[in-house]
C-alpha cells in the first residue's frame, strides 16, 4: 500500500522563548514491511544537529531553534510503500538485546488487576498464542474512548478506568507481557484509517512483543489486530515517553501550547483528520 503522510505539529509560546531544542524520531523504520519513497522533516527556523541510528534501530535527529521565537512548526511529509508482514518486524537492524525490554517503567508497572489480566495467557499454545491472548484481553478490558486518560496515565490506572486510547492499550499490553517474562516495547507510528476505522488515530501507537523464532512482532490491541500495510512504524521505547516521536524543551518562561494535525492517505485519496 502506498501511504502519504502529512503531519504538522505547531508549538506556540505565550511569551517568546530564548531557544528550543528537540530530539526527533520521525523517520520510518527500515525493515521489509516498509520502503520510504520520499520523506522530509522540517522545523521552522530550525538548525539541524546530529543525526544517527541508535541501538534500537531508530533514526534520531536533533534540532535546535535560536530564539527569541514564539511559534515553531514541525512538518513531516512523505510517501512510504508498505507490506503486510502480519506484524513481524522482519529485516530490522538493531543491537539492543530483547531482555533489556523486560525492565518496567512507571507507566508499565503491574498492579494486581494487571496481574489478573495477564492470566489470559494461561494454557496458551506457545508464546505467539499467548501474545495474541494478552492483546485480546487488553482490547476487551480497556474500551477505546478518547478524553478519559492523559499523557501520564499509567497502564494500571487505565485498566482501573476500563477506558483509554491507543497509548493506554499499548502500556497495558507491555505491562502484562513483561510480567509474564516476555520482552515488550512501545511503538509509535502512523495508521491509515479507512472509512470504517477510528479516524482520530492517524498518529498511532501499539506494542511489540519479542517471540522466540519470530523476533519482534507488533500487536495493536486498540484495533484488535497485528500491524499490517496500513501501519507506518517510526520508533520504539520502554513506554510512550521513551518512544515519543518528538521530545523537546524550550528555554524561557513562556507557557507552551501545541496543536497537531496528521493525515495519512492512500494515493489519489484525500482524507484528512483534525
Amino acid at each position: 500500500m502506498r501511504l502519504t503522510v502529512d503531519h504538522v505539529t505547531c508549538y506556540r509560546y505565550a511569551a517568546p522563548v530564548r531557544g528550543v531544542v528537540q530530539s526527533h524520531r520521525l523517520t520510518p523504520s527500515v525493515f521489509e514491511g516498509q520502503t520510504v519513497l520520499d520523506w522530509k522533516v522540517t522545523v521552522s527556523d530550525g538548525l539541524q544537529g546530529g543525526s544517527f541510528r541508535d541501538g534500537a534501530g531508530d533514526r534520531i535527529s536533533a534540532w535546535s531553534v535560536i530564539g527569541p521565537v514564539s511559534e515553531i512548526l514541525v512538518q513531516v511529509t512523505g510517501t512510504v510503500d508498505t507490506r503486510d508482514l502480519a506484524g513481524v518486524l522482519r529485516g530490522h537492524r538493531e543491537t539492543v538485546r530483547p531482555e533489556v525490554y523486560l525492565r518496567d517503567t512507571l507507566p508499565t508497572r503491574v498492579d494486581t488487576a494487571l496481574v489478573d489480566l495477564s492470566e489470559a495467557a494461561e494454557g496458551a499454545d506457545g508464546p505467539l498464542d499467548a501474545a495474541h491472548r494478552l492483546s485480546a484481553a487488553v482490547a476487551e478490558a480497556i474500551t477505546y474512548r478518547p478524553g478519559v486518560t492523559e499523557a501520564h496515565t499509567t497502564a494500571a490506572e487505565a485498566l482501573g478506568l476500563g477506558e483509554g486510547v491507543c497509548q493506554d492499550h499499548a502500556h497495558a499490553l507491555i505491562a502484562i507481557a513483561r510480567h509474564r517474562g516476555m520482552p515488550a516495547r512501545y511503538v509509535s507510528g502512523y495508521l491509515f484509517a479507512d472509512a470504517g476505522g477510528k479516524a482520530h488515530e492517524a498518529a498511532h501507537a501499539w506494542a511489540e512483543i519479542w517471540l522466540p523464532g519470530l523476533g519482534w512482532v507488533g500487536f495493536d490491541p486498540a484495533n484488535a489486530c497485528c500491524p499490517d500495510e496500513r501501519y507506518i512504524r517510526l520508533a520504539s521505547g520502554f513506554d510512550a515517553q521513551d518512544a515519543a516521536p518528538i521530545r523537546g524543551i524550550a528555554r524561557g518562561p513562556g507557557a507552551e501550547t501545541m496543536a497537531v494535525r496528521v493525515a495519512v492517505c492512500t494515493q489519489g485519496q484525500q482524507q484528512e483528520q483534525q
Binding site: 531544542v21 530530539s23 538548525l47 544537529g49 536533533a62 531482555e99 523486560l102 523537546g248 524543551i249
Partner: protein, 470 residues
C-alpha cells in the same frame, strides 16, 4: 578472638614503612598534639571542606574528622597495588565496551544476561555507541581493605563519579603545612599532580569533531550538592570552568557554554550528575539539572561525557562478583586483587548459608551505600541480628553477604593517646588514552574503638596516605 593486621607493629617490632613515624609519635607531647589537632580543624574549616564523602548525606556543614597519624605504604607494596588497580580499571572498561557492543562475555556464559541487560544502570540509549577512545569509566575509584602484609581485598568498584579525591589532596596539603619536618625526613611521593593528570585524561578523550585544544568543563548539580566543594576545588585546580546545567546549551551539532565573551564550544564534560538527570530529552524529563539535547550531541560525536552514560552497570554490587571473571576473560590474566567472597541472598543455596551464619557475616543492601542499612554480625546484638533476618527474608534479592573481614589497623590519635583503628583505602585510577594512578589514595578510618565501619556518616574519619619512594 580475631587478630587484626596492624600496619605499624608486627609482634611489637615497628614495620619498616613506619620506622620514622615511631620517633615522631614518641616526641609529640599531648599539648602539642591537641594544638596541632585544633590547627588542622581550623585549616579544614577555612578551606570549607566539610562535605560528606561518597554522597552519604548527613549534615553538610559537619567536618569529617581528620586524623594526623599518616598511613604508610612502601614502594614495593604500592607497586603491587598499582598493578592490581590498573588491571581492574582496564577490565571494567573492557566489560563496558563489550556489554554495549557485542556482549561476548554474556554469550560466553561468564556472566548472567539478566544481571547486565535487566540492570537499572544499563542504558539502552547508548547501546552500539562507542565513546571517544572507547573509554567509559574515566575515574575508577576502587575501595580496598587489607587483612595482612600482602592481603588486599576489593570491597567495591565505583565507575560513575567517585568522590573524595579532594580529601586525598587536602589531607596531604595540611600535613605538609603542619609537619614540614616529616616531609624532609621521609621520602614521600607527591600526589599534587593528580589534578593535572585528571585534566590530561579528560582532554585525551575529546571527540573526533573537536579540532584544536579541547575545552573541558566540570558539570555540577549545584551548590546544594554535598560534594559541591569538591567540584569547585577540582575545577579550580584543573583550571577549567565549573558549570551548572543552565550554563550550557545545545545548538546545532555542539554543546556551548555561556560566557561574558559569548558562547564557547565545549568538548569534554566531566559530569558529577547522575545519568538520569543529565538530559531531560533522553532521560528524566523533569530534570532541571542537565542540558536538554546533550545526549544527541554526545551520540553524534559532538561532545565527550565523563563518565560515559551507562558506566554504572559495571559497579553494581551484583555485577561486582564477576569482576575477577572479567579480568580473566578480557585480559587472560589472573586478578592481582581479590574480591571478598560474596553470597547473593537471591540464590537459595547462598541464602541458606547466610541465614545459618548470620552472626558472623556482614550483610548489605545491593543498591545501598554510606554504611546505612547494613548488618555487621559480630558487632550486633542478638535482637539486631534477628530483626535483620526478617528484612532479608522479606526481600532476599535486595541483599548480599560477605564474611566479616579482619580490616587492618593503623595507629590513630584518640582521646586516650594513640590506639589502633581500622582503615580502608580508595585510590583513584584515571583512564583516558592511557591508564594513570597517582601514588596516593584516600584512607578512611573507623574512629570508634572496635568499629569496622569507616563511613563518615558512621563515625569515620580520614588520614593522609603516604607512598614512600624506593
Amino acid at each position: 578472638m580475631t587478630t587484626y593486621f596492624n600496619e605499624m607493629y608486627d609482634n611489637g617490632a615497628v614495620r619498616a614503612p613506619y620506622a620514622r613515624l615511631e620517633d615522631w609519635m614518641r616526641h609529640m607531647p599531648a599539648e602539642l598534639r591537641q594544638m596541632k589537632q585544633a590547627e588542622a580543624e581550623t585549616l579544614f574549616r577555612r578551606i570549607g571542606i566539610t562535605f560528606a564523602v561518597y554522597g552519604e548525606g548527613g549534615d553538610p556543614d559537619r567536618l569529617i574528622p581528620f586524623d594526623m597519624f599518616p598511613r604508610v605504604f612502601t614502594a614495593p607494596e604500592w607497586t603491587r597495588l598499582e598493578r592490581g588497580i590498573k588491571q581492574r580499571a582496564r577490565a571494567l572498561n573492557m566489560f563496558l565496551a563489550d556489554v554495549y557492543g557485542r556482549g561476548e562475555i554474556v554469550k560466553a556464559g561468564r556472566i548472567p544476561a539478566r544481571l547486565v541487560y535487566e540492570n537499572e544502570a544499563y542504558e539502552k540509549a547508548v547501546v552500539g555507541f562507542v565513546p571517544p577512545k572507547g573509554v567509559y569509566s574515566h575515574i575508577v575509584g576502587i575501595d580496598l581493605v587489607r587483612t595482612g602484609p600482602d592481603e588486599f581485598f576489593v570491597l567495591e568498584d565505583n565507575c560513575r563519579t567517585p568522590s573524595g579525591v579532594s580529601y586525598m589532596l587536602e589531607n596531604r596539603e595540611i600535613m605538609m603545612r603542619m609537619f614540614p619536618d616529616l616531609f624532609r625526613e621521609n621520602r614521600i611521593q607527591p600526589v599534587d599532580s593528580y589534578s593535572e593528570r585528571l585534566r590530561r585524561t579528560l582532554a585525551s578523550v575529546a571527540p573526533a569533531k573537536c579540532t584544536g585544544e579541547p575545552r573541558v568543563v566540570l558539570l555540577t548539580p549545584g551548590h546544594f550538592n554535598s560534594a559541591y566543594y569538591e567540584h569547585s576545588f577540582l575545577a579550580d585546580l584543573m583550571g577549567v570552568e565549573l558549570v551548572e546545567g543552565q550554563d550550557l546549551f545545545v545548538e546545532g551539532e555542539f554543546v556551548w557554554m555561556r560566557t561574558t565573551e559569548g558562547p564557547k564550544k565545549v568538548d569534554v564534560i566531566y559530569r558529577r550528575i547522575d545519568d538520569a538527570f543529565i538530559d531531560p530529552l533522553c532521560f528524566r524529563p523533569d530534570s532541571m539539572l542537565g542540558v536538554p539535547g546533550l545526549m544527541d550531541v554526545y551520540r553524534s560525536g559532538g561532545v565527550a561525557i565523563c563518565s560515559a552514560p551507562g558506566a554504572g552497570v559495571a559497579d553494581d554490587k551484583a555485577v561486582y562478583t564477576f569482576v575477577p571473571e572479567m579480568v580473566r576473560f578480557y585480559l587472560g590474566e589472573e586478578p592481582i586483587l581479590n574480591n571478598v567472597p560474596t553470597w547473593q541472598c537471591g540464590k537459595s543455596d547462598d541464602l541458606k548459608y547466610v541465614l545459618d551464619n548470620l552472626p558472623e557475616l556482614v550483610v548489605k543492601e545491593v543498591h545501598g551505600s554510606g554504611g546505612y542499612g547494613m548488618l555487621v554480625g559480630p558487632k550486633s546484638t542478638k535482637a539486631e541480628v534477628e530483626a535483620f533476618r526478617l528484612k532479608i527474608l522479606d526481600d532476599p534479592d535486595n541483599y548480599i553477604a560477605q564474611p566479616t573481614l579482619a580490616l587492618s589497623t593503623t595507629p590513630t590519635f584518640v582521646a586516650e593517646g594513640i590506639a589502633p583503628r581500622h582503615v580502608d583505602l580508595r585510590p583513584y585510577c584515571l583512564v583516558g588514552e592511557s591508564i594513570d594512578l597517582v601514588p596516593g589514595a584516600l584512607t578512611r578510618v573507623a574512629l570508634k574503638d572496635g568499629s569496622l565501619v569507616v563511613n563518615s556518616s558512621q563515625g569515620g574519619g580520614v588520614k593522609d596516605t603516604w607512598v614512600l619512594a624506593e
